[in-house]
């Protein structure tokens, strides 16, 4: 494991940086440098440093940790390493297996940002606007973390506890995210006031599980945490004619309304609570409509 440190001009302040090549070394570095902060793609981290809202004294940089890279697509599930970048999520077999994750990844930032930012970073940062989170929560994703005390697996819904808050302990690292595969279409729609490179005002992921004859929906940017919507899911499960895979306009609209009712959005400088709720109703309806249309 390589460690380095930098000094400011006067040598008074020291920033310690560990660049481990293995997960064990990363955990070791976290133990050795209490208070050390994890750095993955840096697309949130470095912005916060620039703004002065994050002042790390020690950093464990995860880019070189091979165990965090890559993904496995198995019969029943998909395992995605925490170090997988948005660019990697947006292409290849991973994209064809989880098309809504790919769609979400493709809405993130610019190509440069997508080459740097990671799934683990998105999950651990736990921003309400985290673009992969609505789909992951809809897919009942499990987050595997490892720390000094060993490994544990936490459902994403319990992993994220509030705005940028998680159950990740200071000595733990997100290792990967696992989702069960399900047969059927899935969609991710995101509203922003610019056609690219924009933080979500509202986003919706809809997954249609043809085998379970169930619909699952995840909402982003409209609550402190990525949120499911049981009432909309139940409504869709009943309202869809699973034989023909069809639903009435009214049923689709009702699905959108129920999704919007599950929101507790805020008004801020990016948008208003009313618009966020309205947008969720529209894009939830459109997402389900698109899923059904694509499946036929």
């Amino acid at each position: 494991m390589s460690t380095g440190s930098t000094h400011d001009a006067r040598g008074a302040q020291q920033l310690r940086v560990a660049r481990p090549a293995t997960l064990d070394d990363a955990l070791c570095a976290l133990r050795e440098m209490p208070g050390a902060q994890l750095l993955a793609g840096g697309t949130d981290f470095c912005v916060e440093v620039s703004f002065g809202s994050r002042r790390p004294t020690a950093v464990v940089a995860l880019r070189r940790v091979e165990e965090l890279r890559g993904h496995d697509i198995a019969d029943g599930h998909v395992r995605i390493g925490a170090g997988t970048t948005y660019a990697e999520m947006g292409r290849g077999a991973l994209a064809s297996t989880l098309p809504a994750l790919a769609a979400a990844a493709r809405t993130v930032g610019s190509p440069q940002i997508r080459n740097a930012g990671t799934l683990g970073g998105n999950v651990a940062t736990a921003s309400p606007a985290g673009d992969t989170l609505p789909l992951l929560v809809a897919l009942d994703a499990r987050v595997r973390v490892r720390g000094a005390a060993g490994e544990r697996v936490v459902a994403l819904e319990r992993f994220v506890t509030g705005v940028k808050r998680t159950v990740l302990a200071p000595d733990e690292v997100v290792v990967d995210v696992v989702v069960d595969r399900c047969r059927g279409p899935q969609e991710f729609l995101k509203v922003g006031t610019r056609n690219a490179m924009v933080i979500a005002i509202a986003s919706v992921a809809v997954v249609v599980d043809l085998d379970a004859r169930a619909v699952r929906v995840g909402l982003g940017s409209v609550a402190p945490v990525p949120r499911r919507c049981a009432s909309a899911e139940a409504h869709a499960g009943e309202a869809i004619d699973w034989g023909r895979l069809w639903a009435s306009e009214a049923a689709l609209a009702r699905f959108g309304e129920l999704a919007a009712e599950a929101c507790s959005p805020i008004t801020d400088h990016r948008s208003t609570a009313d618009y966020r709720s309205h947008a969720v109703a529209v894009i939830a309806r459109r997402a389900l409509e698109r899923c059904i249309r694509h499946a036929t």
Partner: protein, 784 residues
């Protein structure tokens, strides 16, 4: 009249690529001369990332400066305790208002803005103190260690209310009330339409933040390297506040990463010089993006009310308007902005009767000043929406209504000024309309091309197309009697290899507009000298060039350089005449040599320079303009530029999302001296116009800036930028060097209003605020 069609595209297919036509003859046919599009001298460096911008300035042993700014919108400063900051090791100076050696205030028109707030802060982000330290992080911490005891006060953030509120500054809350009364104010038309409109606060958002390096001089003066728009006016303000004679304050232009008006006002200049003089060491300062949002003025937000009267046949009878612009806490150039807003309030139309009230008001919002379009942008949103309303009321085609009322040579403005120059309003309208409309995308076209873009929110069935039109005009150069001039120094000598070499020394701020290229073209064309070197711009070697603003430098600095060329050409003739022993009236120029008329003999410029270098400095003052009288009447302006824009938009009305598909434009340019740079100005200006129409706004809550970052102050990306199809209308402007008009501002004026018109057409909603917000379309809008 000639027309040149420029076409550019982001997409694929017919719109893509560029078929840039160069001028068919006309001006000089010399390669690299006028009318050609030679490469910029700084182009390769900029593209390769090797150009030194002001933020790259460096000097051994330099200190780093940092400004402490008010977190309050309005507060009394009860006490400032700098002792903790001063005591920090590595901190070399901590300065406040008490340390300003000269005039405590600065300002472009009137010095009403404190260098540092002393007793009262009047806006969020107002400078209170500055620090110089060994390291930028240390400077930042030292600034935070300064303890300021503020007593928050009630803020006045509404311009209408501020007009009647207690003064928030000794100079009062009304900067200027300008009334224009023209013709018969009691005239009435058969058809009357009325409307109210609003425009938000746009930022110039230049990509290179404010930066400079001040170096103390041996003479007690200071050398300042800085990115600015007008070196000499900065110098005057700095010297006054330093209490130094102007000769001891020397400014040098550092690499400028865009300006758009935002560098007209002093930002870090005085602070830097004070820190350098106090510490006796070089001091560098670079604003981060968030500080840049607080460190420069913005485009004035505006509220507009209009009532248009017309005859049944569609002739404008009268325009009534009330224009209120929010100048923020300090004056900056608000007086000139409201003058433009009032003068151009009717748009480029023949209006026999007018009653226009313009107010520029002081509030506790961030100071507003110059930005590309300068007062003409805001009112264009109003007058163009009114023209559409009027067309609807008359049952007329909106373009035909505009053509019918279009200004033409010999017409009077509402200020009484008779238009004597080129006024090709109908021509720019026709040129914009002549471009083919873009095809409607196929249902299976990529989602990226729909409103919502990467978010994939719209299916083809959710998208409605709209087409909108807008026309605008604006003045060139400074108005209302200002003695506007520019200086240029030119030296001709034989280079070491004997080749004639011209050195151009101008204080003209190259802010990206390409004056450096134009200067070379002018000298090549005028004197046939191919090697043209540009000396650094400074206050040391040459007189003022005026500001790189108001679309004026091609005319003003270009004209001064043309004068200098003419003087040196005469001197070359004189030398030739002496050798030939003939009168210099016998001499003519033939590119790179001088010809004797009666014998046909020739002498090369190189031979003539063998006797030594030639040098001159010339000043060009444009034709004097006049102040406006109490009725707002007078020949206040030098010349005018006209442009028309047709926007095609796709709208997802249910989500309120817009994609601008195409912008077609006809622009009056007089003469295109560098067609490629004209194209660059048109595309860049349209990007800013589109930005103001659909996303760019500094969001304020009770005077507090909510989005001082590029995360939240959204600028158009390439996916937001429409295809641009442009026609240049070339009708030489009498009195303008080479007949050329400025081209920088018009693309940013009517492009935004055209987008709003297109969205209104697509949705049927009466949208009257820019920028459009999604909720205005899908939740707040009401049918027109």
């Amino acid at each position: 009249m000639k027309g040149t069609v420029l076409r550019s595209g982001r997409g694929t297919g017919e719109q893509a690529g560029s078929g840039i036509a160069t001028l068919p003859g006309g001006l000089g046919t010399l390669p690299g001369g006028l009318g050609d599009s030679p490469d910029r001298p700084d182009g390769v460096q900029k593209v390769r990332g090797e150009f030194a911008f002001a933020s790259d300035l460096w000097m051994d042993a330099m200190l780093w400066g940092k400004t402490l700014r008010s977190p309050h919108v309005a507060a009394r400063v009860r006490a400032i305790d700098t002792s903790r900051a001063v005591a920090m090791p590595g901190v070399r100076a901590v300065l406040t208002a008490a340390d300003v050696p000269g005039r405590p205030t600065f300002g472009l028109e009137v010095p009403d803005q404190p260098v540092f707030a002393s007793d009262i802060v009047r806006y969020h982000g107002e400078p209170v103190a500055a620090v110089a330290a060994d390291h930028p992080e240390l400077a930042r911490r030292a600034a935070l260690a300064i303890e300021v005891d503020y007593e928050p006060m009630d803020a006045q953030c509404d311009p209408e209310a501020a007009l009647h509120a207690p003064p928030i500054h000794p100079d009062g809350n009304l900067f200027r009330h300008l009334v224009i009364r023209h013709g018969d104010p009691s005239a009435r038309g058969d058809v009357v339409v009325e409307g109210s409109y609003a425009v938000g606060m746009q930022d110039q958002a230049f990509l290179g933040p404010e930066a400079g390096l001040a170096v103390p001089g041996d003479d007690g003066g200071v050398d300042l390297y800085v990115a600015t728009q007008w070196l000499h006016v900065d110098r005057a303000q700095i010297a006054a506040s330093l209490g130094l004679p102007v000769e001891r304050v020397r400014l040098y232009l550092a690499g400028v990463g865009g300006a758009f008006g935002g560098r007209e006002d002093v930002s870090l200049q005085i602070h830097l010089c004070m820190l350098a003089l106090r510490t006796g060491r070089p001091v560098k300062m670079v604003y981060a993006r968030d500080e840049s949002f607080f460190g420069h003025v913005h485009r004035h937000p505006a509220r507009l009310w209009y009532r248009h009267h017309a005859s049944r046949s569609g002739e404008l009878v009268k325009v009534e308007a009330r224009v209120v612009v929010d100048g923020g806490a300090y004056l900056s150039s608000s007086n000139a902005v409201i003058s433009n807003a009032a003068c151009f309030a009717p748009g480029p139309y023949r209006v026999p009767n007018a009653l226009i009230d313009g107010y520029a008001v002081r509030t506790n919002n961030p100071p507003c000043g110059a930005m590309r379009g300068f007062g003409a942008v805001q009112v264009c949103f109003g007058h163009e929406a009114q023209m559409d309303k009027l067309a609807a009321a008359l049952g007329m085609d909106p373009i035909e209504l505009r053509r019918r009322n279009a200004l033409t040579r010999g017409d009077r403005l509402v200020t009484g000024q008779v238009l004597t120059g080129a006024v090709p309003v109908r021509e720019v309208i026709d040129a914009a309309v002549a471009h083919p409309l873009p095809p409607v995308p196929a249902p299976d076209a990529p989602m990226l091309a729909r409103p919502g873009g990467a978010g994939a929110t719209a299916d083809a069935s959710h998208v409605r197309r709209g087409v909108g039109f807008a026309v605008s005009f604006k003045n060139i150069a400074y108005s209302e009697g200002f003695d506007d001039y520019s200086s240029a120094r030119l030296r001709l000598e034989a280079g070491l290899d004997g080749e004639p070499t011209a050195t151009v020394t101008v204080a003209t701020a190259e802010v990206g507009q390409g004056f450096v290229t134009l200067a070379q073209q002018i000298v090549r064309d005028e004197l046939g000298v191919r090697r043209v070197v540009l000396a650094p711009a400074s206050t040391v070697d040459v007189g003022s060039a005026g500001s790189s603003s108001a679309s004026r430098q091609t005319w003003m600095s270009g004209g001064a350089l043309q004068l200098a060329c003419a003087v040196l050409r005469q001197e070359l003739f004189g030398r030739a005449a002496e050798l030939w022993e003939c009168g210099s009236s016998q001499c003519t120029s033939t590119g790179s040599s001088v010809r004797r008329g009666d014998t046909g003999e020739r002498l090369g410029i190189a031979e003539l320079l063998a006797r030594g270098p030639l040098e001159t400095e010339q000043e060009l003052h444009h034709r004097p303009t006049k102040a406006l009288d109490p009725d707002g009447q007078g020949d206040a302006h030098l010349s005018f530029m006209f442009a028309a824009h047709r926007a095609v938009v796709d709208v997802d009305a249910e989500l309120g999302l817009v994609r601008v598909v195409q912008m077609a434009t006809g622009q009056d340019v007089g003469k295109a001296l560098h067609p490629l740079q004209v194209q660059g100005q048109i595309e860049g200006g349209i990007a800013q116009g589109v930005g103001l129409a659909v996303m760019e706004e500094i969001v304020l809550t009770d005077g507090r800036v909510r989005n001082p970052s590029f995360t939240d102050y959204l600028l158009p990306t390439i996916l937001d930028m429409p295809d641009v199809v442009a026609s240049l209308v070339e009708e030489p402007e009498p009195g303008a060097p080479y007949g050329a008009k400025g081209v920088g501002e018009p693309p940013a004026i009517s492009s935004g209003p055209a987008v709003l018109a297109a969205v209104r057409a697509a949705t049927g909603l009466d949208l009257c605020r820019a920028p459009l917000r999604p909720e205005d379309i899908c939740l707040g809008g009401h049918p027109a």
